[in-house]
Amino acid sequence: MVEPIISFKNFSFQYETQSEKTLEQINLDIFPGEKVMIAGASGSGKSTLGRCLNGLIPQAYPGKITGNCIINGKQLSDSSVFDLSFDVGTVLQDPDSQFVGLSVVEDMAFSLENDQRPQTEMHQAVQKWSRKLNLDDLLLHAPQDLSGGQKQRVAMGGVLIDESKILLFDEPLASLDPASGAASIDLIGQLAQRQNLTVVIIEHRIEEVLRGGIDRLVVMQNGAIVANDRPEKILKQSLLEKLGLREPLYLSALKRTGIDLKDCQNVDQVSRIDEPQIGNKLKTWTARTKLGEKSKKITKLLEINKLSFGYSEDQQIISDLSLEVKKGETISLVGRNGAGKSTFSNLITGFLSPSSGSIKFKGLNLLAMSVKERAQHIGYILQDPNQMISKTMIYDEVAVGLRLRGLTENEIQERVENILHICGLYEMRNWPISALSFGQKKRVTIAAILVLEPEMLILDEPTAGQDLKHYTEIMTFLEKIQREKGLTIVLITHDMHLMLEYTQRTIVLDQGNILLDASPATVLTNDATIKKACLARTSLFDLAERYSLPSATDFVAKFIQSEREERA
């Protein structure tokens, strides 16, 4: 019998700083060569479990351990981070922060340097792994010249160079665009097979990880393991949905059309799913479902005409871009990194000035206004709320914009309290911001912008790194304020789910111009666009293609509509 390489027995852990156990009675065996995914909502204990695997618990995060945990023959409680690092290579969530060298080679060789290996040995090792990870051409590049996907490959190289047999990934998809995310998952699969690695992936984006082929899915909730089986078995029981996690979209679609997953084979991979009746059921459902009339938005809000911008003549970041935004629309702005998304929003908010072209807002010339004046019409919300918050108390943070505009304290109080009610923060108005969760902080930053009564909001990755619960919370909140205040919302995002589910119109940017301006369903069923803009196909599209439905776009649009109706 094969011995498990990782083994938890009645294992519990309580952080020194917390009054309750974060992990409770964990029993988990992982065998050599297995690819295991650990999923769960924020706070389910999945990251804590990861920290036990690499020894950050109990060394960097002290606390009380009971029970037993053995990793590659070493007792967790007697091993230091250094000891375990030879057995477990960790790739952290943010590959940029993990990059500690001034160039790719130095970062890859970092652990060997610390082991005092001679230079010739390091040169050989770097050469070997840079070839395997396809980093040969980037060896002398600085981190700021690399894309997110490349940085993640460097991070993998930096731990694989130790030849450790266990590889641990902490949310590997969180900071990548959809295409790099898919590539990364594929690479992990290949490496695992070729190097005979044991891989543990901690993620809440289950569908994307399953695509790469996973041997076992472990689901955590409130510090305990609630499911631990082959993915197919878990999916068939619809356990994910019951546990408040996002189930793969194609499975939701199958269920919507009245198919019982228990009758299907290979449900863990859309490309292998098998059940002869599926085709017919999908076709009948699509034929039966009617697309609702779209309410036409007519009032022009933002008119952009032949906008261009570049730091030099021959390097145009935005070139000759024209666009019209109607009042009340929800738009997703997508495209690969460097396609010009942030430059575009910076031109609208006035942080940059265009070299030519015009921007009008309700007929007014936006270019003649200052950043401060524009902020009264168009609010811009950063991805990371910590980068926006400058006060320590919630009330003050929301009031800042009004105080700077010279309103009287009475007026300010009225408007701030009103906004706090709308954002569900009124009860907390005298709390320090440091006591808030990430999602609540996000709401504070949105409130601080809404108080200026803008008619349009631009949000940069509003749901990045959020699990389904928090994601839904933020988006429901945005939908609510949109209805109540008649807002126009632009979401800049890499999240294909978000774009499909919550926006009506998608603008795909590529090389500073609009590649496609269409409904999300159209965009995500257009292979050429998907490839060019580094997006990822939706599994709904794969499903429609596999059963050769007459129109994939039509099917996707109808499914999304029925999802929306159910939500409302």
Binding site: L92, G101, M122, I389, S390, L404
Partner: protein, 279 residues
């Protein structure tokens, strides 16, 4: 985007670029010390000329260092003027003779050849090291800095801190820009249009978010380093360290000869000063 440092490494193919960073650091430090201690004008002129020749060999263009040079010249000039203003007679008391150019030796303000000569020596001391420092900074790959520091005996943890700082400067700059833009949209004026005080207040609002963002990053970085065994051993090796070659030994020999000459001159002059007035 390049890190927008005042001056930075520029890869070129010269003798000095090929020397190990440690050689250049040791050479710079050794020559600086002997030059700071001695007041032998002949010696100072010698190493000044030597460092200018090296500067020429290193093919550093003037435009790369123009700003830094201007700043250094301005400070040196100010310093020399102050030295004169605070003690115009100091040269005479050092050299023990009085060769007046202007004024009388009894007055506070006067000008003597001794004072001029003393100030000239100071001028040489301020300037000879400048080309050497620039050579070290511009011809040494930053990746080699840490290795060089560690080789001259500084703890590798401190040496690596230098490397980490260089690594994350662009990140902090980017954070700063993002935060600054967000605060401007709220209504803080940071642009040049605003008056000084609102601008200071506006900039202060960036500090708090910047500190929080940076602190978070530091925690992740230190974990990432620990997970790859940084701090495990008493020593570490360096991937980018250049092994010593023939030229390095040659260079260090030349440097030691120069330093020995400097020390020999102390004996010959009977002290740190070379006195041309009493012979």
């Amino acid at each position: 985007m390049n890190s927008q440092l005042l001056i930075g490494y520029n890869a070129k193919n010269t003798l000095l670029h090929h020397l190990s960073g440690s050689t250049k650091l040791i050479g710079f430090v050794a020559l600086s010390i002997i030059g700071m201690v001695t007041y032998d004008t002949r010696f100072l002129i010698g190493i000044f000329a030597f460092s200018l020749v090296l500067f020429k060999i290193s093919k550093i263009t003037f435009s790369e260092v123009a700003l830094v040079l201007k700043v250094i010249i301005a400070f040196a000039a100010l310093n020399l003027i102050m030295v004169y203003v605070f003690a115009p007679g100091y040269g005479m008391s050092i050299y023990g003779t009085q060769h007046m150019i202007l004024g009388k030796s009894e007055n506070y303000f006067n000008l003597s050849w001794e004072e001029l000569f003393y100030i000239f020596n100071l001028f040489l001391k301020y300037t000879f090291a400048v080309p050497l420092a620039l050579i070290f900074l511009i011809t040494t790959n930053p990746s080699e800095f840490a290795a060089s520091l560690s080789k001259v005996g500084i703890s590798y943890k401190i040496s690596y801190a230098v490397e980490i700082a260089l690594r994350y400067i662009p990140n902090v700059q980017r954070d700063f820009r993002t935060i600054s833009l967000a605060q401007q949209a709220r209504g803080y004026e940071i642009s040049q249009k605003a008056k000084l005080w609102p601008r200071i207040i506006g900039n202060a609002q960036i500090i708090l978010p910047l500190i929080f963002t940076s602190l978070e990053r530091i925690e992740v970085i230190s974990q990432a380093m620990e997970l790859r065994r940084f701090g495990c051993g008493k020593k570490r090796t360096w991937y980018m360290e250049k092994p010593f070659g023939k030229n390095d030994y040659l260079a260090l020999t030349i440097v030691s000869l120069i330093v020995l000459t400097g020390i020999a001159l102390f004996g010959l002059n009977g002290g740190r000063f070379w006195n041309p007035f009493t012979r």
